[in-house]
Homo-oligomer: 123 residues x 4
């Protein structure tokens, strides 16, 4: 019951990397996904729903995402969906739709990549 | 009812690229996935089930995968599962578990990547 | 790129059935899902994240859900996630996390069911 | 990396219920799923790939499935995919594509259901 989801989207922000006081590496960025739907009568594709997500990466994934992912990239994200209510110090409130990423990869439908495995995974 | 699945696995073969008579670009490779399970009594992780899949990529994804993916890479694959029965010319038969990929990306949990979007996607 | 998700949750409202002017049957209800996490140090399970979703059903699924699903039931929902921004007539705004259901079923982990196939499916 | 999948299919066998020596309740049945594809040129739907799965249920889910699911029902199954190689006593071998179910529910796209929650879940 952990609401896992896989989405393919467009990185809309730079990656923001931080380190928690505990030492945990964290990286975050926002993506949007565009549903493409087929209109049978017109025989053409059109844009449907656009969803926005805040993606969070932790530990080694955060470190690797921080140096690999850039605004404008297309990515695959698989992880756990978290719908969060937030209230700001100024009293504003809202809903954030987050994905705590299990993993992230560049979407090879739209580009090529040179991949280099981390040293500790090659031993 | 299209049996979609997302798996994270290890590329166990070189990528085999071909072009169908229709001109369709096709790339194929095999991956294995290892389930990691936690033994609560022992307090340790251990290897569970290993699954093998034949991954097929088509069109631009095939072209990009052909130059980007190599044996030993770790990848995320999302697509449609197809369980196929086969019979060889010599009369042998078996079952192949295939994924027709919607997309593939390198798994950034295990390494870094330089990504270059295709020109036609940047226009 | 249609952001499909499968969740298991608890039906928190009655089902609201309507018919659009076009004649389309629609049924809607809200569910919440509770993540259960394991605390390795304490050796116990605890409640993690709670997500809320508005589920929409259409056509035959709407008709069947309307007579089958009740507040308090546990269900499996599979469909497409849609994150919607709304503004009310009074100027309030918010975010709604919806699932347009491909299908819904009672969760047999938590109860039993007598199922009766629709007549047109039995012909 | 646990290869989770959700499928919607047709129950092709009776449910076989057993109890392991450890006391664990187990229920198993086979399902097939039919991909429906749209032929844009002809403007019609046609049957694509058919997949077969062996579904395994455990504990309370096995008990509930045993009294709720019957041959001919349409169900939603969500769980972990396991591709298993088997060899019989007579030396034959093959591949079985199994789903260890996290949960199962009747597919309300195709019928209606009376659901009764287990007593222990209502306390």
């Amino acid at each position: 019951m952990s609401d896992t989801i896989t989405v393919r989207g467009y990185v809309a922000t730079d990656v923001r990397s931080t380190t928690a006081e505990s030492g945990l590496a964290i990286a975050g960025f926002r993506i949007c996904t565009n549903e493409r739907r087929y209109d049978r009568e017109a025989g053409t594709w059109f844009d449907g729903q656009t969803n926005w997500y805040a993606v969070s990466c932790f530990r080694q994934l955060a470190t690797n995402a921080g140096v690999s992912i850039h605004k404008g990239d297309r990515v695959i994200v698989t992880g756990r969906l978290k719908v969060r209510q937030w209230v700001s110090d100024e009293g504003r409130s809202g809903t954030s739709v987050d994905i705590d990423a299990d993993s992230v990869g560049h979407d090879l439908m739209w580009g090529t990549a040179n991949y280099r495995r981390n040293l500790q995974d090659r031993l």
